[in-house]
């Protein structure tokens, strides 16, 4: 089955095409087509995972765009442990989110369109995972970016949504551009874009510094954009304008994780550049801490989750940058499940109270007990409370960070504490106490509840895949990839204890401030550190800076470019056009209808020819 792994993206693609070319007339059919397509992908993914566990490795390359005596641009797919893992994550989460969407999006005007794009996204994401060279990755990379744009702007009639979609697209483009430059750069340096070939070159010394560092950092720029790492993080909170299932799938579990996946995929190259590793780790750690602080003050439940997502992605980057690629990937998998679950829970309560504002919730436990349980478990997992999945992967990363630099370790620890705090702040605000909004009980459709329960399972158990006391099967699974910089089978007891203590501490602090649904204590604290609070609440003014840069600098440059375009470029084009028109107008006079003019030209030609013939005669003697 691994030989035909292309079926996995093909199935949702078929669904998308079917929706695009007709099925969209029937929303219900569109929804089920997508679910069917993703289901097929999921089933095949599980089969592929099984084969991968059994040791099957596939690397298929097909000639594409053959250039005679020029560079070849092959396309292909591969199946290896990394791919198999990602396939499972993507297809499973996607399947559950699609099912959830049936209930969540019920009655939406763009229902069919929503599912169509979801199918397209799933296809793109699966293709991205399967692709075995950077060019193909880039193609799918852009496709997921496009789907992200389309889905954030699903409610495009809302200006905020349209703005957010544009922002997401433009900000990620900045990173994508770096990625593209990196691809071109690497191709210019090595003549190949096959990831495995590049890895071999890096390992064999065929690709050395500074080209290696420059290339991989350029690729990392793409990951920064896609994974909302500092400084390109600004789009992700705004992307919450999209439907909550979209946030769950794209902006929590899969697409944003693509950056991490990309770094994992290119890890065999990355690991040969200590500089790049340091950069990745630093960016990851900073982002993790930075975004976590923003999560402390947000009142929008989805934004809290979004900050958390970016923070956790930073965590993964930190792991990869610390050399623990398997740890990063492990956290990615776990995070994908529990963060998707968190989003679906958020969607569940938003569906109930019709608001994102935590301060207008409260006491929702009564109406959504299942959601309450699921969200609490997922939040505990995120907070790194054993034995839930987050604990195991976080522990690995912390361990790796501790082994690299104390500052990174400290940042990761503080992030863990903050994470626990803001997650439970959100939980308590939403579920504890009494209702502050106008929640009216209405039953939740089963299509929304079932995915919550389904996701609860991996949230609890997926951590054991990489649990050290089970021999770390995940690390062993990824052992064959790269050069064995997998997951250490060791368990850092001190680290685990410290992080667990910090996690519990965060939860308790949240309880102290927000337990029982009281708001005044939190507000009192916020008032006491008003300036700091303002800074954080305004997201450190990064957006303002960006807006200023975009508004002044970029628009200024754009104005200059526009002037250049209008005067010089258009001038050239118009000039050419004017020349054509003018010459036409001039030549048109030749066609004057004046017979005498024609006769004149005729005779002038005769004279010219005669002169041409006679002159040599006159100078060259007799004929």
């Amino acid at each position: 089955m691994s030989q035909v792994a292309w079926i996995i993206p093909a199935a949702p693609l078929v669904a998308f095409l079917a929706i695009a070319f007709g099925a969209r007339r029937s929303p219900v059919a569109s929804g089920w087509l997508t679910i069917l397509g993703v289901l097929v992908a999921t089933v095949v993914s599980f089969v592929v995972l099984g084969e991968a566990l059994a040791g099957v490795r596939v690397d298929q390359t097909y000639a594409w765009l053959p250039v005679p005596s020029g560079p070849a641009f092959p396309l292909g797919f591969q199946v290896d442990p990394l791919t198999a893992t990602m396939l499972i994550v993507v297809s499973t989460v996607s399947l559950l989110v699609q099912i959830y969407s049936v209930g969540y999006m019920h009655g939406d005007a763009g229902y069919a369109r929503y599912f169509g794009f979801m199918a397209l996204f799933t296809m793109s994401m699966l293709g991205l995972v399967l692709a075995n060279n950077l060019l193909a990755i880039y193609i799918f990379w852009e496709l997921v970016g496009l789907c992200s744009y389309l889905l954030i702007g699903h409610w495009h009639e809302r200006p905020e949504a349209a703005q957010a979609a544009k922002k997401a697209f433009i900000v990620t483009r900045l990173g994508d551009f770096g990625f593209l430059v990196g691809i071109v750069f690497l191709f210019a340096q090595t003549g190949t874009l096959q990831v495995s070939a590049l890895a071999n070159l890096a390992a064999s010394g065929g690709l050395v510094d500074p080209a290696l560092t420059v290339g991989i950092l350029l690729v990392f720029a793409g990951a920064v954009g896609k994974s909302a790492q500092f400084p390109l993080h600004v789009w992700l909170p705004d992307a919450m304008e999209g439907p909550t299932p979209v946030s769950a799938l794209i902006h929590a579990a899969t697409m944003v994780a693509a950056g991490v996946y990309l770094m994992a995929r290119t890890f065999p190259i990355l690991e040969h550049s200590p500089t790049a590793l340091t950069v990745v780790a630093t960016v990851g750690a900073f982002t993790a801490l930075f975004m976590a602080t923003m999560g402390l003050v947000s009142t929008d439940i989805k934004r809290v989750l979004a900050y958390s997502t970016a923070s956790q992605l930073g965590y993964m980057m930190l792991g990869i940058g610390a050399g623990a690629m398997a740890a990063g990937m492990f956290h990615l998998v776990n995070h994908a499940f529990f963060k998707a679950l968190l989003f679906l829970c958020a969607g569940s309560i938003i569906h109930l109270v019709n608001t994102n504002d935590l301060f207008e919730m409260g006491g929702l436990r009564r109406w959504r007990p299942v959601t309450f349980v699921a969200m609490t478990v997922a939040a505990l997992s995120l907070a790194g409370i054993p034995p839930l999945s987050g604990f195991w992967s976080k522990d690995e990363i912390l361990g790796a960070a501790a082994g690299v630099h104390p500052v990174l370790y400290l940042a990761a620890l503080v992030t863990g504490f903050l994470t626990a705090f803001y997650m439970f702040r959100a939980v308590f605000l939403a579920f504890a106490g009494t209702s502050r909004g106008d929640a009216h009980a209405h039953a939740e459709p089963a299509s929304m509840t079932i995915p919550l329960l389904a996701l609860l399972v991996p949230t609890v158990v997926s951590g054991f895949w990489g649990a050290p006391f089970l021999g770390n099967p995940f690390g062993a699974f990824l052992e064959g990839y790269g050069e064995g910089h997998g997951l250490a089978a060791t368990f850092h007891f001190d680290v685990a204890a410290l992080s667990t203590l910090l996690g519990v501490g965060g939860v308790l602090l949240a309880w102290a401030m927000y337990g029982g649904g009281n708001l005044h204590r939190g507000r009192a604290v916020a008032a006491r550190v008003r300036p700091l609070y303002e800074i954080v609440a305004n997201r450190y003014y990064v957006d303002h800076v960006y807006n200023w840069v975009a508004g002044r600098l970029v628009l200024g440059i754009a104005w200059l470019a526009s002037q250049f375009d209008q005067t010089v470029v258009d001038g050239v084009v118009n000039g050419i056009g004017t020349v054509g028109v003018a010459s036409g107008a001039t030549l048109r006079r030749v066609q004057s209808g004046q017979v005498q003019l024609y006769a004149w030209v005729l005779f002038a030609g005769v004279v010219a020819i005669a002169v041409a013939l006679v002159l040599p005669m006159l100078t060259g003697g007799r004929v």
């Binding site: 030749v590 066609q591 004057s592 209808g593 004046q594 017979v595 005498q596 005779f603």
Partner: protein, 111 residues
Amino acid sequence: MPSELPPLYPIGLQHGLVLGAALFAVGMAGALTKRNAIAILMAIEVMLNGVMVTFVTFARHIPGIDLGGQIFAMFVLTVAAAEAAVGVAIIITVYRLRRTISVDQADTLRG
């Protein structure tokens, strides 16, 4: 009788050819500069006369052609007659349609 005088015909080939060229050029100048269509026809007749003079001169000075030059001059004459007939017919028709025979204004074919 003075012997230095040319024994042969004093009007040489070149004389006739130059006369023919001159007539042709003059006719051409007229055809290119006149505005009245009939005047242009006349100028063309002058051009044709120049051609005829050339033909006849060759017929006189190049032996063994059996007066082919003169015969061709007659063909030229025939063509001239045909041209004049059709030309005048066209001019009269144009005049009927447009009340002018100035070639400047007969530019329906203008591009």
